[in-house]
């Protein structure tokens, strides 16, 4: 009997073949404690060397919002969006969730080489842990965001609850993004240099700091293009639900159809991201 027949007879399987989608998902689900613990540990270790500790999670986006707000406020002059403070704060705080998943997701595999090469477990857990970590820091920083909003005269209304389905869709979308960047940097290490640039580019084009419908008034086709911009849609919906009715002008760009578009984006990004990441499962940790 030759060796392959022997292997066959005893049900031995070829090493390196990746598991099927369902068993992969099941294995990952069994690692849910790993994912949440990893996210929590990483959050605490990141800030433990700073005197202000986790307070930086709030302070960093607040300072960003302050700087960008002042600079772009001066530059835009009369084109400034109405209720500018709330506009910028919501934009900067909400965008940081996307940029975090985009940038840190890229390091999920390459930054954990020791772990990947020593223990075998579904690698999907690592980018998922990154998304959970970013989500937790968003929740924490949202406390500050709410405080600033109330301070600026936007008191809580029932519409604030729209944030819950919005965050669900946003998380799905960002998970897909993190899975894609996690795999891409494994193949092309150079991407770690380019991704921050792309992230910055998206920051300036997502309408974080300016009102798209005002700035591109004379180019309606650009505004139409923004109907296809998922992060922009997240920001518009967030502003619609958080800023009270006094800012009717802001709400003009809101379109209920954005929910449908965004849902589409979220599902597509998640499915494509997952399949893209899963199909290279055998290759992580080889480099």
């Amino acid at each position: 009997m030759n060796r392959i027949e022997l292997a066959d007879q005893y049900g031995l399987r070829r090493v390196g073949a990746r598991p099927g989608v369902w068993s992969y998902l099941k294995q990952t689900w069994e690692r849910r404690d790993f994912i949440s613990t990893m996210a929590m540990y990483r959050m605490s270790v990141e800030n433990q060397q700073n005197r202000l500790g986790a307070f930086w999670l709030i302070l960093r986006p607040a300072l960003n919002a302050l700087i960008y707000g002042v600079i772009f406020g001066v530059l835009q002059g009369n084109n400034r969006p109405a209720e500018y403070t709330a506009y910028v704060v919501i934009g900067v705080f909400m965008f940081s969730f996307f940029s975090g998943c985009f940038g840190q997701g890229a390091k999920a595999i390459t930054g954990n080489r020791g772990l990947v090469q020593s223990l075998s477990f579904p690698r999907l857990s690592l980018p998922l842990a990154t998304v959970v970590e970013e989500f937790l820091s968003l929740l924490l920083s949202m406390v500050a965001m709410f405080a600033i909003l109330i301070f600026a005269g936007h008191y809580p209304t029932w519409k604030w609850l729209l944030l819950i389905p919005l965050l669900l869709l946003y998380s799905m979308f960002n998970t897909g993004v993190a899975l894609v960047t996690a795999r891409l940097t494994v193949h092309f290490r150079d991407l770690t240099q380019i991704l921050p640039v792309i992230s910055r580019l998206l920051f300036y084009t997502s309408g974080v700091l300016f009102d798209v419908s005002k700035i591109f008034k004379s180019h309606p086709w650009v505004i139409q293009l923004y109907d296809w911009h998922p992060v922009y849609q997240v920001l518009v919906i967030a502003r619609y639900s958080l800023m009270s009715d006094s800012a009717t002008e802001v709400n003009l760009t809101y379109n209920p159809m954005f929910w449908a578009y965004l849902s589409g984006w979220a599902v597509v990004a998640l499915v494509i991201g997952f399949l893209f990441f899963w199909s290279a499962e055998e290759r992580y940790g080889r480099e």
């Binding site: 022997l6 090493v15 613990t37 540990y41 020791g114």
Partner: protein, 246 residues
Amino acid sequence: MDVNERKPVVVVDDVHVEYKVYASGKAYRPNAKTRVRKTRGLRVVHALKGVSFVAYENESIGVIGTNGSGKSTLMRAMVGLTPPSAGGVYASSRPNLLGVGAALLPELSGERNIVLGGLALGFHKDEITELRDHIVEFSELKDFIDLPMRTYSSGMQARLKFAIAASKQHDILIVDEALSVGDKRFRQRSEDRIREIRDNAGTVFLVSHSMGSIRDTCDRVIWLEKGELVMDGPTEEVVDTYEATR
């Protein structure tokens, strides 16, 4: 023992591994999909030239050979980290490779590495507490367990990694020189643990340059030289022949 009665767990069938390496030092991985241009600087290193063997349940197999003989390449091919360019490896479950190398999560404390390592291996949250005390005790790192793992010496890192990985009953465990950096006491106890894993229906591969460890723990030895299998048989026989050639 009758060969047919034993259950094979790993079948290595005529495995070849080639590394394409630029002489300038730029390496091409064998699995890269990009077509390799014919450059004068390109060299093909034939790291494994058709290695075959069958490993059975309850065996502990020593792997010996000089530096660069292909031992680590064979082990990496067995866990799927390096895909063979020809032939194949078949296993009853995915083998675990424990090698020397980086800390698991360098920034986190030893204790948190234990928790995360245990969870990654599939232990339940409730099991971790018990497991943690056991691992701390085994690795003898009680005084340092709250320090970040990057501050550990290579011996301490290896001890902790071995203790975490060995806390689970593996079907197939490959230990690639991971014990050589530990001190004598630790080596003794890890050898005991390896025997324990083997006795519980596991199969262990031990790559080592220490013939003492090999004689103490292995009942079968594979001797590689320049990517070829020179000898495969009972420990005493192979090790004696190996030592005679040096």
